[in-house]
Symmetry: C2
Subunit: 367 residues, 2 copies
């Protein structure tokens, strides 16, 4: 089957680019002597997870219980659920642990830590540290850190953080500085736990930008980047990759053109692309995605989707090239934010440097 | 089962509010002597469609072939596919038509009109008119209108438009003016087709704001509103409804609180809520949604989700009420834009004015 035979809109994943991205991150993390525990929140695919863990220790990170259950079914036995759970979800985590899966939870709350400690489920837990993102986590120097760690009792195994604020950087130097904040926060927290006589075997960090540009990861035991597998326009913009490293695109069909107005309309809109506007705050605003030709090139010049309706994407294009476009022409859209674009789709059509579809990989959605 | 027993995040649909919204729109449209052909792009649910077509002629509108196929399977026999197709999708439309479903397509392109005319499928087609939205459609006074209509041959049955620019209104007077532009555009186009000796039985318009506030619909034969079934914060903001008319909410669990910072963290983020920011351009920016208590009230004061990460929603709340919130507390989120929020979910948990879950209704996603 060829790309042109696929129903649109759909996700196209280039295996060669994916494997190159996987190698690059594996090398970056191993250079610092740290284990890679890839975050599957972007890919949500067992086939991708198998490639991402080849040559690694096999542990993975997930963002939802639905992902944890899916990957457990597909044979993954060491799963870190990096998003804090409410107490009522512990029974689903327990069901996995009782099947022999090593399930590690995170918390930044003392009452939840007590609930985890009191729960019969055989899971482990990390205290979540705020390394500057101000989203979740406790400060590494707070009294709460020790209280939460103690409340976890013998389920405590370490600390973790996510330096989401690396996304506000626009230079690799800035990212490297955030990576150092990220490292210091968990290393400091780990030292405090150990001084207090508490267990801290796991010192976990992770974001694609910081793991790409960290100067050193001394004291860290594992890294949890995720979007590096696919990359996207935002990651290219903040220096995590080049645009040619974007492995996942949305295949779409042209459903209208207005040559005089320099506009193209495609059958991928706000659902198929998401309404994420990550690149809006960067130097090169890519709207709701950048349109390429079916071969993933720029035969059409520069086309940016500047309006996204539920099922229509409307792009401002170079009028000189629009005249070559017919209704029905297939295009590929490089996404702003791969994690959210992928979320509306249930499968990947796999190519490997050509327009031949060599495989179809499923993905898990929902919660 | 009670709301508090549901897995979070999930969609909660209040049947009583839904039925009130359905009645109100049915009355509004019938007042003008026009048929209601509800657009199912928001609900994507056979159970909702059955309620929405009760007492109507039974015809529905959809936005994707996946919806058309789903509703045909559920017994709907008169389906308008209101989004233009590329030629390669005509075979799926034909498959439905060959099962005896009345399938009506839309086009604003002469070459596509010729492709529809030449296709063996027994479907009908409408010429899409631009009534001011500048998204799709040809102008009612353009030469293209007659060319496209003629190209459709004996598949031509009429004209349609969607006044999406009603969404830029902030007063009901403005909406009523747009409704008149919408009406005039198709009535003008219909008159031109008839003068040219062409068929124009169908004169179709539709958007929730314009169908709510139109002063008259003389010459129009059918109306295609969609989001009125569920309503949302944006529709409330532009005067299509009151906030109490919002029938669909997202049930979520609190996974973190920061009483001093006046913040609450829930397990519904950018996927469960969408990154739609429709209300940003209105007087009351509701961020990524407005948090209510599990009874759909305001026991927590005013809480707006101002940051949406993949699986975390972070809300700015009244610190005085945050102290009553525990990890695990359930909340409900009123969405900015119901169509996009619903898109990440595969079912509705139905309530009817209480916290008891009385039914579960499926929905169709994908393409």
């Amino acid at each position: 089957m060829q790309l042109k035979d696929l129903p649109t809109p759909c996700l196209v994943l280039d295996k060669g680019i994916l494997e190159r991205n996987l190698r690059r991150m594996s090398d970056a993390v191993h250079r610092h002597g740290v284990a890679l525990r890839p975050h599957l929140k972007t890919a949500k695919s067992a086939a991708v997870a198998r490639l991402a863990t080849t040559g690694e220790k096999g542990g993975i990170t997930v963002s939802t219980l639905a992902e944890a259950e899916y990957f457990a079914e597909h044979g993954f036995r060491d799963i870190l659920l990096a998003n804090a759970l409410p107490p009522q979800k512990l029974s689903r985590a327990e069901a996995l642990a009782s099947q022999g899966v090593t399930v590690t939870l995170v918390t930044d709350n003392e009452s939840m830590a007590s609930a985890i400690a009191a729960h019969p489920g055989r899971f482990s837990a990390l205290v979540e540290i705020d390394s500057g993102d101000r989203r979740t986590g406790v400060s590494a120097d707070s009294d709460d850190l020790i209280k939460i760690a103690k409340a976890l009792g013998d389920k405590l195994v370490g600390v973790m953080t996510h330096a989401g604020h690396s996304y506000s950087c626009r230079t690799t130097d800035c990212v490297a500085d955030v990576a150092e904040d990220e490292r210091l926060s968990v290393v400091t927290a780990a030292a405090r736990l150990r001084e207090a006589g508490l267990t801290c075997d796991v010192v976990s960090v992770g974001s694609t930008p910081t793991m790409t540009h960290a100067r050193n990861l001394d004291g860290v035991t594992e890294a949890r980047p995720g979007v590096y597998m696919f990359q996207d326009l935002f990651q290219a913009e903040i220096g995590s990759c080049e645009k040619r490293d974007i492995a996942m695109t949305v295949l779409a069909s042209v459903i209208g053109t207005n040559v005089d107005g320099g506009r193209m309309l495609i059958d991928a809109g706000a659902i198929a692309l998401s309404k994420d506007r990550s690149t809006q705050a960067t130097e090169h605003d890519a709207g709701y995605g950048e349109i390429r030709d079916i071969d993933n090139g720029y035969a059409f010049g520069k086309c940016i989707i500047d309006r996204a309706y539920q099922e229509h994407g409307a792009a401002a294009c170079d009028a000189a090239v629009l005249k070559d476009i017919q209704i029905g022409t297939r295009v590929r859209v490089a996404p702003n934010h791969a994690c959210l674009t992928a979320a509306a789709h249930d499968r990947y059509y796999i190519v490997d440097g050509s327009s031949e579809v060599v495989d179809v990989w499923d993905r898990v959605n929902g919660w």
